[in-house]
């Protein structure tokens, strides 16, 4: 394949550079537009399976982005974001089944529904810290799927509900449904990422970091700590909800076994692998989570291992990758990449400097250093 699309794209980006540099918001929009062009081209040039994987990565990236902001910036933890994904997914499937709403409305309303559930839980969460918060969110991830079997008439029980996104007519009858799913998911993910990137750079994002680093200091500076924590929880739940809808688009159905505890743990793993608090890290972590198991299964089966052995290898490798990334890049892939390409120290919004202080007190020296930078 020739690289001309990339060259055109880079040339155009260079001409736009002065306009783009003026504000953070514009930069994020420009970046998203560039991303949309690249992803659109990629989805046309590549085969359908890559379309499917792109849609998978997009769904995961949105959910992971919400979680990484919650943990990395606001200093709270959630092992229950899979449950918010379930809320988004089920609301979407219900709207699709009973009201036949247009897709865009379904995306927005399901996201808001997950945010509403997140708000209720966030009020409770703001009173909890560290392992207690982790335990409470864990409970959510374990308990929520039971609603589907308890109210099986409405929610379809173990079988779940169908959610089939059809290709709009103007694209023609031969347009691949998988490509359309990739476009829907990547489009939604890009919009969501721009909004989140702007939020992280805003006063709210700064307040979150202040709360994360020292709640007392933040309160003294006039920040309403509880409100900020609840807001972070709502945003995180909303993004999980949107991720859940996008996951439903990919899978074509929602069911309790889709939103298991292991999904919540996977989100956490992707956030940590990518780099806590980093949005680009959320994308890297998601790519790793989607690509690595498939790749390893292929490698394992093509090397003549028995199916029973090769099916266990991705799970084993998953653990190994996690250990290796943590050893080599303690700040995740995003932190590792910026270190490898010799970039100046990342700003706080890009990557956390340490685990949230709600888990571990930081040294006064580190605090001083942090304050000197902001």
């Amino acid at each position: 394949m020739n690289s001309s699309p990339d060259q055109i794209f880079i040339g155009a980006a260079n001409r736009l550079a002065p306009w783009v540099r003026r504000t953070t918001g514009r930069r994020h929009v420009a970046l998203a537009v560039a991303g949309a062009v690249v992803l659109g081209l990629a989805s046309i040039l590549l085969d359908q399976y890559r379309d499917y994987q792109m849609a998978e990565v997009a769904a995961s990236a949105v959910a992971v982005a919400g979680l990484t902001v919650l943990i990395g910036l606001s200093g709270q933890i959630s092992i229950g974001n899979g449950a918010f994904m379930a809320v988004g997914g089920y609301v979407a499937a219900l709207l699709f089944m009973h009201l036949q709403w247009p897709l865009i409305a379904i995306l927005v309303v399901s996201t808001l529904a997950a945010a509403a559930v997140g708000a209720i839980f966030g009020v409770a969460a703001a009173r909890l810290r560290g392992p207690y918060l982790a335990g409470a969110t864990l409970m959510l991830a374990v308990a929520l799927p039971f609603f589907a079997t308890r109210f099986s008439g409405l929610l379809g029980g173990d079988q779940g509900l169908g959610f089939f996104v059809t290709v709009p007519g103007f694209l023609g009858a031969t347009f691949s449904p998988l490509r359309w799913q990739a476009w829907v998911n990547c489009g939604a993910a890009l919009v969501a990422m721009v909004l989140l990137a702007n939020l992280v750079r805003s006063r709210i994002g700064r307040s979150w970091r202040a709360v994360r680093d020292d709640e007392v200091a933040a309160a003294l500076a006039g920040i309403n700590v509880a409100r900020m924590q609840i807001l972070a929880f709502i945003i995180s739940a909303a993004y999980a909800g949107l991720g859940g809808v996008l996951l439903a688009v990919v899978v074509g159905t929602v069911s309790p076994s889709l939103f298991t505890l292991s999904l919540s743990i996977q989100l956490l793993t992707a956030a940590v692998l990518g780099g806590l608090g980093s949005l680009s890290g959320a994308i890297w972590g998601s790519i790793l989570l989607v690509i690595v198991p498939t790749y390893l299964t292929n490698v394992a089966t093509s090397h003549g291992l028995t199916q029973a052995t090769s099916s266990s290898i991705p799970i084993l490798a998953y653990g190994l990758v996690l250990i290796l990334v943590m050893l080599a890049f303690p700040r995740g892939i995003a932190g590792g990449i910026s270190r490898l390409i010799g970039q100046a120290p990342l700003s706080d919004s890009e990557s956390p400097t340490a685990p949230p202080t709600s888990w571990r007190r930081r040294s006064p020296a580190a605090d001083r250093k942090e304050k000197g930078r902001t």
Binding site: G157, T294, I337
Partner: protein
């Protein structure tokens, strides 16, 4: 997001190049050609995606790890053992079967991923025996949209019988409604007026089974219906409720682990009703192992002593029938290709469904397209390894239509009556099927 522009561009460009390279490596699908009718001398061609002149590649999603794995992870290796036997004895019109089954951990999201991979990347000819209701429901529409044969789903859900919406999907095992009806019919005849309690898994398996049971049993005879969630092993309250209702017979639509837990819970409550267990949860070998492990009792024969007298139904010959030609054939294949696993109900299932697939492939012709396989099954499959006829037609995609009743004695199923067949409607009659089951072919391979 990364801060400086050049770095970001480089990263994005790098990603594009990488994915392009990866795409270049994956092969594209070959176009289908009209299939040959089975004439002896027609040369073999690559007549469909997944079919070459020497191989037929098929794929599946199976729970090889995770909650559903114990027991069910034996099914695909057993099917594969049968395929290896066929491959070693001439294959299907000379082609060898390559069976690629991927682990979905019984998680629909992973099922979706692996099935997309199998169809779009590995270009399998068909999806065979995909296991599980929620898992397979997530992929059946996609498989059908790609016009890939979706044959012999490993689940008794009635949802696979939908020729208008899922024309390429076929069930195989006895569906749960028919099974419930056959169990209900037996109780009606043999335990007239006795109080019946029902213990069922709270999903389509248990609910469909219960539905079939109530088609046959008078409502007044069922004194209590208790369900369980497969993720919660604490079932004491439900069993106590069955005991309190005075149930003399307990019918259970349970998976093997919960049959075992139910039996042990009953022991603890000194509650000893006659158990009637659905085929899904009654394999004596699996049960004995589970009972011994749950009760931490290593005494020889402990498990068998607890399964003694359980009444069940079965649609495959019993491994205890050593004179049955199918069991003899499967014993031989088992010893040669699969000696690491016990010859239990799951292995028997895998071998049998593998046999059915080979039957269908022979019928599809020498150079089959994907549609040829669909047409072959729509035209009906001869009975072969299962005890009752198949329902297959262009308007019915259910599989096996009947079963025989049996009782567990000394760790093996002993048939107590002839084969009964029925349909899945509330009023459809249950009739005896006196046609004897055909013997296994001497070669062990169905004739074309």
């Amino acid at each position: 997001m990364i801060r400086s522009h050049p770095a970001r561009m480089a990263a994005i460009a790098g990603l594009v190049v990488l994915s392009l390279a990866a795409a270049a490596c994956s092969s594209s699908s070959s176009s289908g050609k009209p299939g040959g009718g089975g004439g002896g001398k027609t040369p073999l061609t690559a007549s469909a995606p997944g079919i070459t002149t020497s191989t037929i590649t098929i794929g599946s999603h199976q729970p090889l790890t995770g909650i559903a794995a114990p027991g069910y992870d034996e099914i695909a290796p057993a099917s594969n053992a049968y395929f290896q036997y066929v491959n070693a004895h001439g294959g299907i019109y000379g082609r060898k079967i390559v069976y690629k089954y991927l682990n979905d951990q019984y998680n629909p999201s992973i099922t979706s991923t692996v099935v997309h991979q199998l169809i779009l990347q590995d270009n399998v000819y068909a999806i065979f025996n995909g296991l599980g209701t929620p898992t397979h429901l997530a992929v059946a529409p996609f498989i059908n949209s790609e016009k890939v044969p979706d044959v012999f789903v490993a689940s008794g859900c009635e949802c696979w019988n939908a020729p208008s919406t899922l024309p390429d999907t076929f069930g195989w095992q006895l569906d749960y409604v028919r099974e419930g009806k056959i169990l209900g019919n037996y109780i009606k005849e043999h335990f007239k007026g006795k109080k019946v309690g029902v213990f069922y898994q709270d999903d389509e398996f248990g609910q469909d089974g219960l539905k079939g049971l109530t088609y046959e049993l008078p409502k007044s005879q069922i004194v209590s219906k208790q369900n369980y969630d497969p993720t919660n092993t604490k079932i004491g309250p439900q069993i106590a409720a069955l005991k309190a209702a005075g149930a003399q017979i307990v019918v259970s639509f349970t998976v093997p682990a919960f049959t075992a837990i139910m039996k042990l819970t009953m022991l603890g409550l000194k509650f000893n009703p006659q158990l009637v267990v659905s085929d899904v949860g009654s394999d004596p070998i699996t049960l004995a192992g589970l009972l011994a492990s749950f009760a931490k009792n290593k005494t020889a024969g402990f498990g068998n002593s607890l399964t003694q007298g359980i009444i069940t139904d079965a649609y495959l010959p019993s491994t205890g029938q050593t004179s049955n030609s199918w069991i003899q054939l499967f014993n031989k294949i088992h010893q040669q290709y699969l000696s690491k696993l016990p010859l239990d109900g799951n292995v028997l299932y895998g071998l049998s469904v593998g046999y059915t697939f080979v039957q269908a492939m022979f019928k599809a012709g020498r150079n089959p397209t994907r549609q040829d396989l669909i047409d072959a099954i729509n035209g009906g499959i001869p009975q072969g390894v299962v005890v009752a006829p198949y329902a297959y037609s262009s308007t019915d995609h259910n599989g096996i239509t009947g079963a025989y009743m049996a009782v567990v004695k000394n760790g093996a199923l002993v048939p107590t009556g002839g084969v009964l067949v029925t349909d899945d409607t509330p009023t459809g009659a249950i009739t005896a099927d006196s046609t004897p089951q055909p013997d296994a072919p001497a070669s062990g391979i169905p004739s074309p």
